[in-house]
């Protein structure tokens, strides 16, 4: 099972993320988002940083919690220029999440990063469950 793969979208960029558990799905979606941002084989250079992320204001569904989690990482990436590459969800339910995200402080302007994700969208967002676990398609506005 691939943790995530890029999917075709005419104007924007999408990923299909998968996970044996919801926790794994959330972690893989974050990996997928940073893959979209930096591309394959990106080697971040800089000092290591770790951030605690908490989401606790959602309305009883995992989809909105997933968008909030990714949006929070994206906001921190833009504000603090942290390229995240290590994600650990500590607790998750349908309205709240606690996680640790590890990354590297980069010089964004000097980096080779070329994709600016404007936002994580809710477009046709639905977490689906099958025998292999959970999957979800996420469209990013770029």
């Amino acid at each position: 099972m691939k943790p995530f793969e890029l999917i075709e979208h005419t104007a924007d960029v999408g990923i299909k993320a998968r996970g044996a558990t919801l926790t794994e799905l959330f972690e893989n979606a974050a990996r997928g988002m940073f893959y979209v941002i930096a591309g394959e084989g990106y080697k971040a250079q800089g000092s290591k940083v770790e951030k605690k992320i908490e989401i606790c204001k959602n309305r009883d569904n995992y989809e909105e919690t997933l968008v909030s989690w990714l949006s929070e990482l994206l906001y921190t990436f833009n504000r603090e220029k942290i390229y995240f590459n290590d994600f650990k969800i500590l607790s998750l339910n349908d309205s709240a999440l606690k996680a640790e995200a590890g990354g590297i402080n980069i010089d964004l302007y000097q980096s080779n990063i070329y994709t600016e994700i404007k936002a994580v969208t809710f477009h046709n967002l639905k977490i689906e469950e099958d025998v292999d676990g959970f999957s979800c398609t996420i469209i990013f506005d770029v």
């Binding site: 979208h9 309305r59 990063i113 477009h123």
Partner: protein
């Protein structure tokens, strides 16, 4: 994931195709797509028409959910989508109908220069523009705005920049809404949005944003071209940018909060990205107040970018920008929601017009046009791709009758970014453009060039022929790129 539209389109004439209201239960109006036989197969091959049908679910939507010929699959609304809602009939406003890059738009600057004047200095000019105009992801500008300035930008828009000396009053007259839409409410902008906007004034951004040096190579309507200050063989400059991180954050904040409005106001839409609230509700008014701040920020941004570019021209030509004739022709927004007066069944109404990848195209005589364009109609700036051509059109009465004063906004993508990268694998797009057409391109990364390669876009000539043929706007002139700066 992209799949062909599985409904049946009714051909109304050579430029109009209808999605019947019966296509999906819940559609309040039919869909109307502007296209010709050559553009239609591409349009049918992605999910854009499904999105046009979804937009038809919005409460208070009038007449049609509209799709311009540059329509393509977006999120929530399609790109190239127009929808007008009636506040008196429970009409809603949807942040997804504007998009994250609020008031993204284009401005065209004319000059007195011809190709002979420019040619010896073109490469220097392009290099200096690339050097002096902050572009690319993570770029911040030299135009600094304090927290107090930022609030003034939200309220006064491009007028703030002119007050600071980044342009002249005449620039404001040649900007949609004079670069400052009324009713902006800074108290509706989150702390995060403030933060993200602070150091990005005067930055181009990345992706499809650009600055182009162009030559006017064809005139279709001499009289209107003259009114716009344009002539054949003339050098012009086009700038495409938006509201940067500020707009993204405002949209993000309100899409999230308006998902809660769906239950509160008993609204049913097929896609959460179409989250909306009645225009006459606290949530609707709050979004409108915040969105207007981002719109004013975007107009300020493009004003600052033009100021920086004028400075570069002054440096390269050793003359003042005024003596080079670098005057703003017009600036249009193509991602915005506006409260506008339109005639519906013979009665004038104040409506909320969403333009998501669509341009306002007001006809001659419209009250909102500056005196200088009253006779010719509103200049409509349509960028193409970096290898082919761009257009200036003029607004016409057909747009007022059919599309709430709207027309197309550009070429529209036909290839996804990953398909474009695959198609360009092993190729050097900048060299190809130079060898084939003499176009000098500068970009921060090669991948941006591949993503934005001409073949990733529809043929803008076809798109413009449709809006011209359908009477939504009139062709005035065509420009060819000479130098391109990509973010």
């Amino acid at each position: 994931m992209a799949q062909a539209f599985d409904g049946k389109l009714e051909k109304l004439d050579n430029f109009r195709w209808k999605i019947p209201q019966t296509y999906k239960s819940g559609m309040r109006v039919p869909g109307l797509i502007y296209a010709n036989d050559s553009l239609l197969p591409g349009i049918l091959n992605d999910k854009a028409l499904e999105q046009v049908a979804n937009v038809a679910f919005l409460p208070g939507i009038l007449k049609y959910s509209l799709g311009m010929p540059d329509i393509h699959w977006g999120y929530g609304f399609s790109i190239g989508g127009v929808a007008a809602t009636d506040p008196e009939d429970g009409g809603v406003i949807s942040p997804g109908g504007v998009g994250y890059d609020i008031c993204c738009g284009v401005r065209l600057v004319r000059s007195d220069l011809t190709l002979d004047d420019l040619k010896p200095r073109l490469e220097t000019l392009v290099n200096e523009l690339f050097n002096d105009i902050p572009s690319g992801i993570g770029s911040s500008g030299n135009i600094r705005a304090s927290a107090k300035d930022e609030e003034e930008i939200f309220l006064k828009g491009a007028g703030w920049a002119v007050k600071k000396g980044y342009g002249v009053k005449e620039d404001l007259e040649c900007t949609e809404d004079k670069g400052s839409i009324e009713g902006a409410d800074p108290s509706k902008v989150s702390k995060r949005a403030y933060e993200r906007g602070r150091d990005q004034s005067g930055t181009l951004g990345s992706g499809n944003h650009f600055l182009e040096i162009q030559i006017v190579d064809e005139i279709y309507d001499e009289k209107k071209a003259e009114a716009f200050g344009l002539f054949k063989g003339q050098i012009a400059m086009m700038i495409h940018s938006g509201s940067r991180g500020l707009g993204y954050q405002i949209c993000d904040d309100y899409v999230k909060s308006m998902i809660g409005c769906l239950g509160k106001y008993n609204i049913s839409v097929p896609d959460r990205q179409l989250a909306c609230a009645p225009i006459n509700s606290p949530e609707g008014r709050a979004y409108l107040g915040g969105m207007k701040c981002a719109a004013n920020y975007a107009w300020t941004n493009r004003q600052c970018l033009m100021h920086l570019a004028r400075n570069v021209f002054e440096k390269v030509f050793n003359k003042s920008w005024n003596s080079l004739g670098l005057k703003l022709v017009y600036d249009v927004a193509h991602n915005i929601a506006k409260m506008e007066r339109h005639a519906v069944d013979g009665k004038e109404k104040l409506l909320c017009v969403h333009r998501k990848g669509a341009t306002r195209a007001f006809p001659p005589g419209h009250i909102d046009l500056p005196e200088r364009y009253k006779e010719a109609g509103q200049p409509v700036i349509i960028p193409g791709d970096m290898g082919r051509v761009s257009y200036v059109l003029a607004g016409s009465p057909g747009a007022m009758r059919e599309t709430f004063g709207s027309t197309c906004h550009g070429a529209g993508r036909c290839l996804s970014r990953s398909s474009a990268i695959k198609a360009c694998h092993g190729r050097q797009i900048d060299k190809e453009l130079f060898n084939k057409s003499g176009i000098i391109v500068r970009a921060k990364t090669r991948t941006t060039l591949a993503e934005e390669a001409p073949e990733a876009y529809k043929d803008v000539n076809e798109v413009v022929d449709v809006v011209h043929g359908a009477g939504l706007s009139v062709k005035v002139c065509r420009m060819r790129p000479l130098g391109v700066i990509k973010g």
